[in-house]
Symmetry: C2
Subunit: 468 residues, 2 copies
């Protein structure tokens, strides 16, 4: 059985669905092919269930500051962990159902469930079906990495794929890998009274290259549970338990959460049959502004391409790939200002150019504001962290920032939108900063930044003069 379409999209996650939207809009015929479970990584095992868990953890852990506020009886609070996990699962199901209802639920034969394999550059095999397509979009996503040696420990080793499925919380867990996922889940589980040990072979957490921000994040989170940094973890069995060792440290735990990274889902595609270039990780070499693989008829989008594994970026990539797969001319699009958020408390947020990328330039200045004295943060009893901002010395143009702060997610939006428009520190200081808000922490950092850049010859810094 052979079928001919204009565009075949492999993967019905966020990027695949966005690619499909563009193909549909262009009036092209298409198939959407999906191996494994329907529903996006975000809704099934990513952003949504993690935020549900974090919300419960945040509410439960606030009891620890109740005594300061005159709220009595916090010792009587306890967690029904089975109920909590059920709430997480129910919440997740709502979002998964929403995704399906808005996409694949009523698709008919444009949706094919099965794993696609390339036969040649314009031919796929799915189940017993041959699909001929002028253009093909690869949007197969990624999968958590678990080293082969650890797979023997069975369901005592969890990943973000399995952690939201557990019915009861373990008494103890080691979280190996302190990127976004490890930190979010590790902190949430610790707030839910699981004994958490955080481990990473690097000395940095949340991928922070800014040493001041990194230390501030380590200080804040390291007060809540131990962080073992700079040594590789090993796991051995001890009866029903697992012993996790890293450097001189060792702990016996019920479970291990492995969050050391994700690998692109490329194994089943049979890319070896294609005339395309692969990089060292086996990922097709592509142009991030067109999502085109080489100058071929193949496009790639979403987490499978190994960069910017973030929902809104996967959406953008799907749109670009879908648009270009559906039009004769391949167009290049500007990618958005980078914005990364780790939803810990304090939030850990990176915006624009990373601190490490700016170290080669000699016209870059940095300034900071610690969150300790920021009024609103103090009132919230969440005054931890630091805001670090980077600018061009000559112009004062904002280049990037690292934010370790409560409500940093919102400051990240503010700053990324400003960087998107090429604004300077002077421009920002003329914006309204309401009182008392967390935005005033950013304002203080900007005032400090101003001292480092060339002064503006204006009569009043915070107010634009009207022309006479």
């Amino acid at each position: 059985m052979e079928r001919k379409v204009d565009v075949a999209i492999i993967g019905s996650g966020t990027s695949g669905l966005n690619a499909m939207g563009q193909t549909r809009r262009a009036g092209k015929s298409f198939v959407l092919i999906n191996g494994g479970e329907l529903g996006t990584t975000c809704a099934r095992v990513g952003c949504m269930p993690s935020k549900a868990l974090i919300q419960i953890a945040e509410d439960f852990s606030r009891r620890k500051i109740f005594h300061r506020f005159g709220i009595l009886g916090e010792d009587s609070l306890s967690l029904d962990d089975a109920h909590a996990m059920e709430h997480v699962q129910d919440t997740r199901d709502i979002f998964v159902d929403r995704v399906l209802a808005g996409s694949t639920d009523e698709m008919g034969d444009e949706l094919i469930e099965g794993y696609a394999e390339f036969v040649d550059m314009q031919t796929l095999k799915v189940n017993d079906q041959i699909i001929k397509a002028d253009k093909i979009v690869i949007a197969t996503g990624s999968t958590p990495i678990v080293p082969a040696a650890w797979q023997q420990f069975g369901d005592r080793v969890l990943t973000s794929d399995s952690v939201f499925e557990i019915e009861n919380l373990p008494k103890s867990i080691a979280v190996i890998g302190l990127g976004v996922i490890g930190l979010e889940l590790g902190q949430a589980l610790n707030k839910l009274d699981v004994e958490v040990t955080g481990i990473d072979q690097l000395e940095i957490i949340a991928g922070l290259t800014d040493p001041v921000a990194n230390q501030s994040a380590i200080d804040a989170i390291g007060k809540e549970f131990p962080l073992w940094l700079g040594a590789e973890a090993e796991i051995t069995e001890e009866g029903d338990m697992l012993r996790v060792t890293a450097g001189d440290n060792s702990v016996l735990v019920e479970k291990v959460l492995v969050s050391i990274g994700r690998r692109p889902n490329l194994d089943r595609l049979g890319l070896d049959k294609l005339d395309i270039e692969l990089d060292a990780s086996g990922i097709p070499v592509y142009n991030p502004n067109t999502m085109q693989v080489g100058d071929s008829s193949i496009f790639i989008a979403g987490d499978v391409d190994g960069v910017r594994p973030i929902l809104h970026e996967a959406g953008d990539e799907g749109k670009i790939a879908g648009y270009n797969a559906s039009h004769d001319e391949v167009k290049a699009f500007k990618r958005k200002t980078p914005l990364g958020i780790t939803f810990t408390e304090p939030n850990i947020v990176t915006v624009g150019e990373a601190w490490s990328a700016l170290q080669d330039r000699d016209d870059v200045v940095t300034a900071e504001m610690p969150m300790g004295p920021v009024g609103r943060a103090l009132i919230m009893a969440k005054n931890k962290g630091v805001i670090r901002v980077y600018a061009e010395k000559s112009s004062g143009k904002i280049l990037g920032a690292t934010i370790v702060s409560t409500k940093g997610e919102h400051l990240g939006h503010l700053l990324s939108w400003c960087i998107e428009q090429g604004l300077t520190v002077h421009d920002l200081l003329r914006m309204p900063f309401y009182h008392p808000t967390i935005e005033e922490g950013l304002q203080a950092a900007l005032y400090n930044l101003l001292k480092e850049v060339d002064a503006r010859p204006a009569p009043l810094l915070e107010l634009e003069e009207l022309s006479a």
Copy 2:
């Protein structure tokens, strides 16, 4: 005793201190004259103590959703109201001390404590001292209004000046006047288990002219405690208690919080001796871009001038007035995009042009997004309210918004910064919106707004095409 200075500033609140900063920077001689307590309205009786009270109320009231999350024992929580009020007072004292330490604490004879009265356009009398000044800045602030007939009820009638001083919470209170102050304090007190009745003679709350946003705010807050709208309140004594009647409604309460507005502190100034024009409320007529009263040597700034009674605006006005009082040439400055935040839950936020001001124009379109389905708000169990956005139909330029939403304070910053730069709905939809955030509620409103404005001829709405 007569003293001669370049600039005399009457009032050491936010605007007075900012005026002083400019005078100092310009190298002019000055005196700062303050009647009554030192410390700003914001720190003493405004933003700061109210936020401290709201934070406790928010934390205490979250227990009501604990059962959904599997958190047990919420019935055991209780409030030590004396401890809570002490915390509010301690927090306030920290901020007042900070203000004083940063300003008047070490000023020597440049600070005069006493009430200033004009002798003529360039002469003031304070205590027994005569001050001659080339320029004078009036920054005397404002005072809560309490009708004369209600003053007989003594300390059973509270205002924002006295409410933070009470040692114990009353069992019941009527809040008369549902502007920012009445709503913030009324909701906080209700969350602290005070029986609150909210009353306003108008049918609108928080000054909302947008009928959809107003109704949404009434629905959200009216579920928590009764709101009696559209009838004037009367108070009578019943034993130790007060009976408050409005229209057909009547309630017996321990205390009444009067929050019907603030009057400018002008009575003691002796303005009648001056050759300046006063408006119908007795406020000197001034230019809001120069803060100059007529073309005189007198300037005015802050809450006393009757508009934009908000800290950052008072700061701006102080800077403008202080700058112009300290320089020969009077410069005009652009005022910031209006931003008003009521720190209720949901926040009530107005940005840019008010809905009422746009009703005269025929090229204005409106769109909205209810917060009910917004993922993150749902996860937080705070999915109440609506986001309303207004734009120019032809260009899509954002003109204003009314936001009734949790974390609306942050959306208010985002939108006001965008309006400040004249951005369009298309510009905004190209910005990064992280997932899952409250900013996605704004994004959804913007997508709805887009349908109402002229379409942009771009291949991909959310991504800018790179020039070839």
